[in-house]
């Protein structure tokens, strides 16, 4: 009797528990299913984009990340933008025309009339003056993009400070204000409210022209911000960010900042007061056309969620790594395209460094050649990237201007174990030949710590292959991965103190689409392991390449750098993975450009719409 009661009681509890759980789950699921059945068809005036990383800041003078620049390019505008898919020609945005002086030192921009910020404030040359100096005086991480050619002072008798910036009345400048802004010997000179001249030569590059200057002006660093808005919210503080500007945005662009759900999503809403609405159609270009879609929402999600949402039709554009290409191709109703290699190069071109300042044995060219020939480059590309990457010869990455001319007849480094063992034996170290012969048995090469970031599966797999390849000829490396922040701190460390890591994998990703951006970083010793082979002739060649407008001279200098580095065998150029464009098949109007940050590969959302 009592046992029976017990079972009866147990049964009741079990039923109650199960019913509660089922009710909660089923109720929610039923609601969700019914709700989703009404929302799976995308609303045709909005776009959902899904990416991985939330922007670091919404201030154009501060953000230094692809997601940040993506938002900036929709809300703020600069004087010029890349011309469609071109990386060498430009279209006017806030400027309708410009001219460059014959010596390449002065850029005069003629500004559009009737341009307004989204709050209605008019835009003019004073705003350009304010915005550029604000970026320079705030001096945040990406400031160097402008700071290499421009500065807040002329080094003699003129210096703009935060106090001066904050004191000027930009809507109705008095004579003192105009004295500052119209002074001739400074980086940014206002000629009149609709004309401004950039004088190069005050930045750290010195008194030389810079042929990639126009491209630096397409970055958010040079975007126009409204001085009235900045002054209303704390003004400019030297060396410091502005908390309000970090989380709010008022620009001249075709979109306004809508809802920001911190850590989750950012919604861009069509700017109802957009000045481009009043521009005659024949005067519009793609960079200033009014937005077609009412809203663009960018959600920051895990890769699994992004792919799930693409499959379900919830998201129309997602970002995903090249390793998922084969999976993504199978999803119906989705266009997945391998973009030209310049887009991959813009995201990251990878190389292996050998640093003799950390391990003197690496000073021996035969050792470096042995290591170079020991690596199976194509094997890495095949097994790590399913073949969707290209081997390159740096420092200019493949697809970038002057790559082909600089490389000329140089073939990417090849895999040849016999040759590798031969060079190692020649250097006097124990070398294992493919046929099993061992030379210099008693003098093994010292074991080397090998740096890479464990946050990257592709780097991890590559490091493992390199370890195996080098072991095959008799060189043992110890894999010493670091998390990305620690890795970054080592590879970008001022002074490049790499003594713990004589060898490792490094990469470069563009700040602006110009070959000189890569050459400067990789060839001129700003990176770990690259300083060891830096020499004044390479530096001079890079200065010559960036300061002339003569195409032959540019090619000649880049070619010299490429060939010199190639025959030093100091950096083993590994791979550049392809980059994917992933969109729902009814999304159209995207104009890809490697300078763009929209989903990693286009500048502006204003042209995007549905078929």
């Amino acid at each position: 009797m009592s046992q029976g009661n017990s079972k009866k009681g147990t049964g009741k509890v079990a039923v109650i528990v199960i019913v509660i759980v089922i009710l909660i789950v089923a109720g929610s699921a039923a609601y969700a299913l019914s709700r989703r059945s009404t929302t799976t068809t995308p609303v045709k005036n909005s776009l959902l984009v899904e990416e991985g990383e939330f922007p670091d800041s919404l201030d154009p003078a501060v953000t230094y990340s692809t997601p940040g620049w993506e938002i900036m390019n929709q809300i703020y505008q600069g004087l010029v933008a890349p011309n469609g898919t071109s990386v060498t020609t430009f279209v006017g945005v806030l400027a309708y025309n410009w001219s460059i002086s014959s010596n390449g030192m002065n850029y005069t921009f003629y500004l559009r009339h009737n341009v307004t910020f989204s709050n209605g404030d008019p835009f003019n040359a004073y705003d350009v003056w304010f915005s550029v100096y604000r970026t320079i005086i705030m001096d945040q991480s990406p400031e160097w993009i402008l700071g290499q050619n421009l500065a807040a002072g002329n080094g003699i008798n003129f210096n703009i400070t935060a106090n001066i910036l904050n004191s000027i009345n930009y809507s109705s400048p008095n004579s003192t204000d105009l004295q500052y802004m119209e002074y001739r010997n400074q980086s940014v000179q206002v000629v009149n409210p609709y004309e401004v001249i950039f004088h190069l030569g005050y930045g750290y590059n010195g008194q030389v022209p810079y042929n990639a200057f126009m491209m630096t002006l397409t970055t958010p660093m040079a975007a126009a911000v409204d001085p009235a808005v900045v002054e209303e919210h704390g003004g400019v503080v030297a060396g410091s960010t502005n908390a309000w500007m970090d989380s709010h945005a008022v620009g001249t662009g075709f979109y306004e900042l809508g809802q920001v759900i911190q850590g989750q999503s950012i919604t861009l809403v069509k700017n109802p007061n957009y000045w481009g609405n009043n521009v005659p159609k024949d005067q519009l270009n793609y960079a200033i056309e009014p937005a077609i879609l009412n809203t663009v929402t960018i959600e920051y999600k895990s890769l699994a969620s992004r792919i799930a949402d693409l499959k379900s039709g919830t998201a129309q554009i997602i970002e995903a790594p090249i390793q998922d290409y084969n999976t993504l191709k199978t999803i119906p109703g989705v266009n997945v395209t391998l973009l030209p290699i310049i887009f991959g190069s813009s995201q990251g071109a990878y190389f292996m460094y050998m640093d003799p300042s950390a391990l003197p044995e690496l000073n021996n060219t035969s050792v470096r050649m042995a290591i170079t020939y020991a690596i199976d480059y194509q094997g890495i590309i095949k097994s790590v990237f399913d073949g969707y990457a290209v081997q390159w010869v740096g420092p200019i990455p493949p697809g970038f201007p002057y790559y082909n001319q600089s490389v000329g007849n140089l073939a990417p480094y090849s895999y040849n174990r016999t040759l590798a063992a031969k060079y190692l034996a020649q250097a006097g170290y124990r070398a294992i030949f493919p046929n099993g012969t061992v030379e210099n048995r008693n003098n093994p090469f010292p074991t080397v710590n090998f740096l890479y970031t464990s946050d990257s599966t592709s780097e991890t797999e590559t490091a493992q292959i390199i370890q195996s390849d080098l072991a095959a000829i008799g060189i043992n490396i110890t894999l010493t991965p670091l998390t990305f922040p620690s890795y970054e701190a080592v590879v970008f460390a001022p002074g490049n103190e790499s003594t713990q890591y004589p060898m490792g994998i490094n990469f470069y990703t563009e700040d602006y689409t110009a070959s000189i951006d890569y050459v400067d970083a990789i060839a001129n010793g700003y990176y770990i392991g690259t300083s060891a082979y830096y020499n004044s002739s390479i530096f001079d060649a890079s200065v010559n390449a960036s300061s002339t407008f003569n195409q032959s001279a540019i090619i000649q200098n880049f070619s010299y750098i490429t060939h010199t580095m190639y025959y030093q065998y100091a950096i083993d150029w590994l791979y550049t993975p392809y980059f994917l464009s992933i969109t729902a098949s009814d999304v159209t109007g995207i104009i890809p450009n490697p300078a763009g940050s929209g989903a990693g590969y286009f500048m502006f959302y204003n042209t995007v719409h549905y078929t």
């Binding site: 299913l33 201030d59 908390a243 895990s302």
Partner: protein, 345 residues
């Protein structure tokens, strides 16, 4: 009366002890964060920081002052709620934590409700059906759930319930574009209810179910196991047999003798689990794009955001200590032997 006084003394002692543990923990975290690097300002400002940013961080956190002054400033800042400015996001760290923390509480409390319902329920069923097929099945279930890595369960949940079944959103706390309710508690679904916004409430619930069930699935096993063993321990106690022999109603035996005494340990485990879940949300929140303190911590780790990370670690630590304190107090209330040093007077 004596029992109540002893309980009060016990609770006060535990609170005082916990306070000192918190202070000690803060000091340890402070020392680790301020002495590990020769130049903490350069480390905190990030690898690509300009000298001006490093100077700003040095000034903001007083890193050029003697260590004991820094410690005093740190305590002053901590207790006044001024955690400084985040060098990565450029927002006040305190306001960031104030924003993200309620979102995590929402997730954790919901998960805890699922854990209690499923964990205690299955533990009871398992105990009642001791050594039967049902018992074995439940043991297999909770052991498997317990052994499943968090990232795996989360990714599978996303794939199954959003990619194939389309039952739930793949992530986020609510649908972008929705006008959120006025912030009262910071807990979205609760604020929706308090402001009478049923649409927001349902939307929030829709987003909440999958991550919270996943979190619950990964953690209900310990509650089931403890509940099961607690009930089994009590089930065969002489006083239960005695009650049965006296002819006490079966329901009364179950409720007053078996469940009440058998679930003492479960209660304390659930309290401890609260702190455990909060710290365990890092992976779940990242995969479900839940804007909580766990995701904030994850981003702080991946972006080298030391100032934010320091306070997140302190908050996590304090929560674990408080959860343990609550567990101790609950245990003392439910089992007087604890507060009396293991003997019953």
């Amino acid at each position: 009366m004596v029992g109540r006084r002893e309980l009060t003394v016990f609770i006060l002692k535990r609170i005082l002890f916990s306070f000192f543990v918190i202070i000690g923990t803060i000091i340890i975290i402070f020392l680790i964060s301020h002495t590990l690097s020769k130049d903490p300002a350069a480390l905190w400002a990030g690898p690509k920081a300009r000298p001006s940013t490093i100077a700003y961080v040095t000034k903001e956190y007083g890193l050029n002052k003697p260590l004991y002054i820094q410690l005093l400033n740190f305590f002053e800042g901590f207790f006044s709620g001024n955690f400084g400015t985040d060098p990565v996001t450029h927002q006040p760290v305190a306001s960031e934590i104030f924003y993200y923390f309620p979102n995590t509480i929402e997730l954790v409390i919901t998960a805890l409700i699922f854990i209690i319902i499923i964990g205690v329920g299955l533990g009871y069923i398992s105990a009642v059906h001791f050594n039967s097929k049902i018992d074995n099945a439940i043991r297999l279930l909770y052991t498997s759930a317990w052994a499943t890595p968090t990232f795996l369960a989360s990714i599978l949940a996303v794939l199954v319930f959003t990619s194939y079944i389309h039952a739930f959103p793949s992530g986020g706390m609510y649908t972008p574009g929705l006008t959120p309710p006025q912030r009262i508690t910071g807990i979205f679904v609760l604020d929706s209810l308090l402001t009478g916004n049923f649409g927001d409430f349902v939307n929030g619930l829709d987003h909440l179910i999958l991550p919270s069930i996943t979190l619950a699935f990964l953690n209900f096993g310990i509650v089931t196991r403890i509940s099961r063993s607690g009930i089994l321990n009590v089930k065969w106690m002489p006083y239960v047999k005695n009650a049965k022999a006296k002819g006490v109603n079966e329901r009364s035996i179950n409720r007053n003798h078996i469940l009440r005494n058998g679930l003492i340990e479960s209660n304390t485990v659930i309290a401890v689990m609260f702190g455990w879940l909060v710290t365990g949300t890092v992976v779940v929140e990242e995969i479900f794009s839940w804007p909580g303190i766990g995701r904030f911590a994850y981003n702080a780790i991946t972006s080298d955001d030391y100032p934010a990370l320091i306070y997140v670690v302190i908050i996590f630590t304090i929560l674990v200590i408080i959860a343990n304190l609550i567990a101790d107090i609950m245990y003392a209330i439910l089992d007087p032997r604890i507060r009396l040093g293991g003997t019953v007077k």
